[in-house]
């Protein structure tokens, strides 16, 4: 595998993760794009910084797949904004994404935390 393929894998991982993160954020209630960015940053303790260049394509893609729905509403600060809401289909997708994520974490964990003797046998 060359460098390019590693890069490709990372993108895929992030892309799948971003979808999951967005859907999870919307679980807490309808939110606009800016709100999603803020929520992710706050909840991750300023670690996750989502690029708008990834967020908006992702939101529009999720909408096309009917995992989220959008509508125009007034925000608390009387700003007209597009609010996204998770759909039933989106919730199902979130559950399956989460399951996959947990399996990956577990698999990576069992590789990373393996004891030296076991690996030699």
């Amino acid at each position: 595998m060359g460098e390019k393929d590693q890069y490709k894998n990372r993108i895929e991982l992030l892309q799948g993760t971003l979808d999951m993160l967005i859907l999870q954020t919307l679980q807490w209630g309808p939110q606009h794009g800016y709100g999603i960015v803020q929520a992710l940053r706050t909840r991750s303790g300023d670690v996750l910084q989502v690029e708008t260049g990834s967020l908006y394509p992702a939101l529009h893609r999720l909408e096309r797949q009917r995992w989220v729905q959008s509508e125009w509403k007034q925000s608390e600060s009387r700003q007209r904004a597009r609010y996204y809401r998770i759909t039933a289909k989106g919730k199902k997708q979130l559950a399956s994404d989460l399951g996959r994520w947990e399996r990956i974490v577990e698999a990576i964990g069992s590789v990373m935390y393996v004891k030296p003797e076991e690996s030699e046998s």
């Binding site: 606009h32 794009g33 709100g35 708008t52 260049g53 908006y56 529009h60 700003q79 007209r80 904004a81």
Partner: protein
């Protein structure tokens, strides 16, 4: 466009969404104490490149964007321009294949699908036939039977009757022969046609109206009466009888018999001179063709049952007028045995099926070429894929190339068809019927072309595109010559396409071979009469208004004068010419003969003068031929053919036996050898000949000549005109020309099937050549190595030939199975040859196999002669 508005709206909304994002970010920063200006800058910096975000987001909206469609089309055009050879060849092949389909379809459209031009909803119309089902039956109903059926049925919205024949329009500067129809008063109502001028007939005008009236056809009104807008109410002269014009039919209306043109219409007995015909139920009073319009919701079966019930009552009331078979059968007009469709319905649909096979074959060929192109563009595709194009996008762009090809091909085919649709009429030789058969180019044909194009686009674009898009980008980019031949998936598809082309072209070749041999058999078959030194000329003595006696005098004078012409061996008269698709029939009741149940007593008949059999070289097996003495004053006599003799008097001497025809008894004085009536391949039907001077109506002069009959035509015509210049003389032509009519459909079959088969052969052979050549070229490197390692040239030849051989063998085997199954549908169209004729099958397989082998040999030969060193260095 609504759709493009949607796109603009979404673009605006995205802009607004991004603006809102920025506003909120700025507001937050300002709330944290930043200045308005620095907050804005920071927010915009944080957001990133706005146009890029918009662009990437818009990509997520998917293919439903005009912009993208335009981009794809431009891309496809660019790719096609890059390989003009492929583009032109593929477009031309597809256009020809689509045109083959649309041409045959336009012929079907102009005949079977539009059986009665101008009529309302012809799918509700059915033609009525009484008795045994035959091709080109004679008019089956008497007026009284027709009237009873019309008045006593419960399933028809209306039933019309008509009878048509030639007549002469007199009273103008020039007499003109026209085709006139005697019709029931409801004729135009049942057809659903409204007059263009004046009115049509009223119910009480059906027989013996107060004023004889006529309805003119549009083209007659235009040509003979200069489109006179005040023609209604004026009197014209038909066969020297004055009649009043009451209306003009709209343009395009040509009457109720498919394929024939009626010029004008009168009611059934406009002059009151045909009383006998209107008041009898049998013999010469059986003269009407009948068409009914079913009530909505009534099926043909129900209607036939209903009419059968009425008919049974009629038969019970008048048993002597209805001996033989009286069952009623109904046919939709697209296959009505009355008129041209009966013949056409047996041929054209089969030719359309052949054309469809040609189209499939062409698609397979173009798909092969397309696949090869895509394989050679693998690197380009892979690069595009790794640059971020997803698979769907690639497929879409490749499909677009197929779509562009098929649309252009469809457009070309449309232009071609507008011409080829009119070539149908070419196939019918000059004849004595007012035939108006031709193809038509209307919306149905255009839709047909569009559907074919769509199909072509799918087969030639989608299939190869889908296959090619599977290639994993990384491997392609890494891989060099070793795997460039396209991977095993594409190799299999290519092989399958080649096999399909061979398998599809074999049935085409076999059918066309069978048709060609049928045509040859028909041409060389002996019809049982002389065709080569015979000239016939119709004399319209009966249609210009002469009295019966005057007509007789004229006939005698014609016989005397024409016989005396130099170059004339024998001159005689008849009222019928065999093998011209025309057919006369009468009900003949042999004395003392008990018919089987449902046996038809209708026989073919012809009225002929003395020396008729001599002129045609038809042997009289027993008794004598007619003589000049068999005239009106003499006892009625007739001559039967062998079939009639065997049917009615098996094992007995037919001479002296008597038959009742038209109510009089005729004595058999001779037995003639069987000869062909309509088709060489007909099953023999009984025929009776009567003396023209005892029973004839029309007059056709028939001359046996010493030399070329066409040379004598002017002399014969002049002689008749010398007797009376007003006598119309028409259809003067050699017998050979007239009888071509009988094989016109066989000619259509073989010409079209032959062209289709040739196309198929070329496609299949170029297809296998292309694939083998391409594969060999891809293996140049490998072959070079093999030769360098010691493989002989013969080994190379075998290597390349073998793969072509395999493909050919599989294709031939599949094609043979397909072909032998398919020929069953053409059995009825063959003559003198079996559908599985071994000679034809073997020669067709040899031709196709041989050509394919040759196509494989050429690239193999080239590979064999390559210098291995250059071959290895290449690439």
């Amino acid at each position: 466009m609504k759709w493009s508005f949607g796109f603009q709206r979404r673009k605006r909304e995205l802009q607004e969404e991004i603006d809102a994002h920025l506003q909120m970010a700025i507001a937050d920063r300002v709330a944290r104490g930043e200045t308005e200006e620095s907050a804005r800058q920071a927010a915009e910096r944080e957001f990133g490149n706005i146009p890029l975000v918009q662009d990437v987001t818009r990509d997520m909206w998917g293919q439903a964007s005009l912009e993208q469609l335009g981009r794809d089309v431009r891309y496809a055009l660019r790719q096609l321009r890059k390989s003009p050879g492929f583009t032109i060849t593929a477009t031309a092949m597809l256009a020809v294949a689509i045109c083959a389909n649309s041409t045959v379809f336009s012929w079907i459209d102009g005949t079977m699908l539009r059986p009665i031009p101008g009529a309302r909803d012809t799918s509700e119309l059915v033609s009525l036939q009484r008795g045994e089902r035959t091709f080109s039956p004679t008019p089956p109903f008497s007026y009284l039977d027709y009237r009873d059926l019309r008045e006593q049925n419960h399933t028809f919205a209306g039933i019309l009757a008509y009878h048509h024949d030639w007549i002469t329009l007199t009273g103008g500067a020039q007499p003109e022969r026209v085709y006139i129809a005697n019709v029931s008063a409801n004729y135009f109502d049942v057809l659903g046609i409204k007059p263009m001028l004046g009115r049509f007939f009223l119910p009480d005008e059906e027989s013996r109206p107060a004023i004889p009236s006529v309805v003119l056809g549009y083209s007659l009104w235009k040509t003979r009466y200069a489109a006179d807008p005040a023609i209604v109410g004026k009197a014209i002269e038909i066969a020297r009888h004055p009649v009043t014009v009451i209306g003009v039919a709209p343009e395009g209306v040509t009457g109720a018999m498919p394929g024939l043109r009626e010029d004008l219409w009168v009611t059934l007995d406009p002059l009151g001179t045909e009383v006998w015909r209107m008041t009898h139920r049998s013999g010469g009073a059986v003269w009407l063709n009948v068409i009914g319009r079913l009530r909505p919701g009534v099926s043909r079966g129900q209607a036939a049952q209903d009419l059968d019930t009425v008919m049974r009552h009629i038969v019970a009331a008048y048993p002597n007028d209805h001996l033989g078979d009286n069952r009623i059968t109904l046919d939709p007009l697209w296959r009505s045995p009355f008129g041209a469709n009966g013949y056409i319905a047996a041929t054209l649909p089969i030719l359309l099926a052949f054309a469809a096979v040609v189209l499939l074959l062409t698609c397979a060929n173009v798909a092969t070429l397309t696949l090869v192109r895509f394989v050679s563009r693998r690197r380009e595709l892979a690069i595009r894929q790794s640059l971020g194009a997803n698979r769907m996008q690639l497929v879409r762009q490749m499909v677009m190339e197929g779509a562009v090809l098929s649309i252009v091909a469809g457009a070309v085919a449309l232009v071609l068809t507008s011409w080829t649709s009119k070539t149908f009429a070419w196939f019918f030789p000059a004849n004595s019927n007012p035939l108006i058969l031709n193809g038509s180019m209307d919306h149905k044909v255009v839709i047909g072309i569009a559907v074919s194009s769509l199909l072509v686009g799918m087969l030639c674009g989608v299939l190869p595109a889908w296959r090619s898009s599977h290639a994993p980008a990384v491997e392609v980019l890494k891989a060099e010559s070793a795997s460039i031949s396209g991977g095993s998936r594409n190799r299999k598809l290519l092989s399958a396409l080649v096999v399909a082309q061979i398998a599809l072209s074999l049935p085409l070749l076999l059918c066309s071979g069978l048709f060609l041999r049928t045509l040859r058999n028909l041409a060389s078959a002996n019809p049982g009469f002389e065709q080569d030194h015979i000239l016939t000329a119709s004399v319209g003595a009966n249609i210009v208004g002469y009295s019966h006696d005057e007509e007789h005098v004229i006939r005698h004078k014609i016989l005397d004068r024409v016989s005396a012409l130099p170059g004339v061996k024998v001159a005689t008269l008849t009222d019928w010419i065999p093998m011209t698709l025309s057919h006369k029939g009468v009900d003949a009741y042999p004395e003392g003969y008990v018919p089987h149940p449902h046996e038809s007593l209708q026989v073919y008949d012809a009225e002929v003068a003395a020396r008729y059999f001599e002129s045609l070289h038809i042997p009289i097996l027993e008794g004598r031929e007619f003589t000049p003495e068999d005239d009106e004053k003499a006892p009625r006599v007739l001559i039967v053919d062998q079939t009639a003799a065997r049917r009615y008097w098996p094992g007995q001497d037919p001479l002296g036996k008597r038959l009742r025809v038209w109510g009089s008894l005729f004595t058999v004085v001779g037995v003639a050898k069987n000869s062909t009536h309509i088709f060489v391949n007909e099953s023999p039907e009984p025929m009776v000949y009567m003396s023209l001077f005892q029973a004839g109506y029309e007059t056709i002069v028939q001359v046996e000549t010493e030399g070329n009959p066409a040379d004598l035509a002017p002399a014969v015509e002049n002689t008749i005109h010398e007797i009376d210049p007003r006598l119309p003389v028409f259809d003067v032509r050699p017998m050979r020309e007239s009888t071509q009519m009988a094989s016109s459909l066989a000619v259509i079959q073989s010409v079209l099937a032959g062209m289709f088969a040739l196309t198929g052969l070329i496609l299949a052979v170029t297809g296998i050549y292309g694939v083998v050549a391409y594969r060999t070229q891809m293996r140049t490197h490998e072959i070079g190595i093999r030769v360098a390692l010691g493989a002989s040239r013969v080994d190379v030849l075998r290597l390349v030939l073998l793969q072509g051989l395999w493909l050919t063998a599989i294709g031939l085997a599949l094609g043979l199975a397909f072909a032998l199954g398919l020929t069953r549908i053409i059995v009825r169209l063959l003559y003198g040859i079996g559908a599985h004729d071994p000679v034809t099958v073997v020669s067709v397989v040899m031709i196709l196999g041989g050509m394919s082998l040759l196509a494989c040999y050429l690239p193999a030969h080239r590979a064999m002669r390559r210098n291995p060193v250059t071959a290895i260095r290449e690439l």
